[in-house]
Symmetry: C2
Subunit: 223 residues, 2 copies
Amino acid sequence: MAIKTQRAARRTEGLSKAQIVEAAIAILDAQGDGALTFRALAAALSTGSGAIYWHLASRDDLLAAAADGIVAEVVDAVGEGASAREALRALALGLFDAIDAHPWLAAQLSRSPWQPASLRIFEGVGARVQAMGTPQAALFNAASALVSAILGMAGQNAANGAAPHAGPDRAAALGEVADQWARLDPAQHPFLRRIADQMRGHDDREQFLAGVDMILAGVATLR
Amino acid sequence: MAIKTQRAARRTEGLSKAQIVEAAIAILDAQGDGALTFRALAAALSTGSGAIYWHLASRDDLLAAAADGIVAEVVDAVGEGASAREALRALALGLFDAIDAHPWLAAQLSRSPWQPASLRIFEGVGARVQAMGTPQAALFNAASALVSAILGMAGQNAANGAAPHAGPDRAAALGEVADQWARLDPAQHPFLRRIADQMRGHDDREQFLAGVDMILAGVATLR
DNA sequence: ACCTGAACACCGTTCAAGT
DNA sequence: ACCTGAACACCGTTCAAGT
C-alpha cells in the first residue's frame, strides 16, 4: 500500500536523490550490504538502473550518501548541555547504536576518512576533546585517535554477527565461542583461556562504554 | 625467471595452499583488493580457477589465510624482554606497519573477530594488558577496546590513500585537504578549521604512536 | 587425489534510444 | 531534463570431465 503510494508519487514528481538513498538504506538494513544491487534498488523504485546513475555517480557515492544521512542525525541529536565528557559518551553511544542498527555503516565509515559522514564525526568528537581541556598541540592526534577507536570498537561489535542483543540465540553463540576459547592450547593462547568466562555473559553495549571511558581517561591525562 | 621456476616446481609437486596464499598476497599487495580474482590468481599459478577451490573453501577463506600468515609474523616478532607497555607499543607498531604495507589487511581484520588472525592479535594484546597489572575484572573489556582501537587507528591510516609516506605527492595531498578544511563554514566545522594546520604536516606513524600512548595511559588508570 | 575450464548466475556501469 | 533497459565486461563458485 505504502509502496503503491510511493510509486504513484514518483511517477508525477520524478526520482529524487533522497528517495533513492532512502530505498537503499531500507535494503541495506533488511538484507545487508550484499543485497544492495542496482538491479534490486531499481526494482524497489520501479525504474531502470540507469535512472539511478542520473542522480548518483556510483555505488560508493550511494553508500556515502546513505552513511551521511544517518550520521548527521546521530551527531545532531547530542545535547549541548552536558559536560564535554558526557557529550562524548553520548555521541559515542549514538554512533554505537547507529552502527549496531545499520551494520553496513561500519565498513562504509572505514572506507574513506574524507567522506562527509567522517568529517561530521571528526568535528563532533574533536570539538568536545577540545572542550575537555586538551592542549592545542595534542588536539589533532587525540581527536583522530578517539574517532578511530570509537569506530573501531563499534565496528568490531557489528562484525560479531549483527542482530540479536538478547535472547537464547546470542547466549548460545557466545557460549560456543567461550567453550572454544576454553579448549585452546594453553601454550598458545593462555590469555584467551583465562577470559573465556568473562566473554560468556558480557553485554556489548556495556563493554563499549567501558572502552570509551577507559580511552577518555587517557584523553584526560593529556591535560 | 622466478615465475618460470615456480611454475616448473608446481608441475612436479602440485599446488599447495601455502603457494596459493603467497600468490594471493603478491596480487593484493601489488594491485589491491579488487585485483584479487580467482581468474587472475589461477593465471598467476598457471592453473584453472577450480584447482584453487580444491585447497580453499572460498575467497573469504583465502583472505583469512593470507591475513593470518602476515599477522603471525608480526605477533611472533615482538620481543619478550621489554616491559609490558613497551611490548604493547611494539606490537601495535608492528600491526600498523603491516597494515600500511598491506592495506587490504585492515578490511579483512575487521570482517570477523573469530578468524585466526584476530585471535592471535587478541591473545598478544591481552596478555600484555594483563601484564600491565590490569585487574582481572577489567581485563576482557580493556583488551577488547585496545585491540579495536589499534586496528581502527591503523585502518584509518591505510584508508587515507596508501602508499607514499614521504615525497611531494603526500605533502601536496595533505595540503589540499588542509586547505579544504580551512575553507569550511566556521558555523558548521569550527574544529576542523582550527586544526587544519596541524594536519598539514603531520606524520602518520607519529600520530598513531601518540594515539596508542594516550590509550595506554587510559589502560593504566584501571590499575 | 588433484586439476581443467566451460558454464551458471550473478555483478556495476554505460549508453543509445526514448519521453 | 530525465528515464528505460539492453549490452558490456566482468565476478565467485560449481561441476562434469579428465589425468
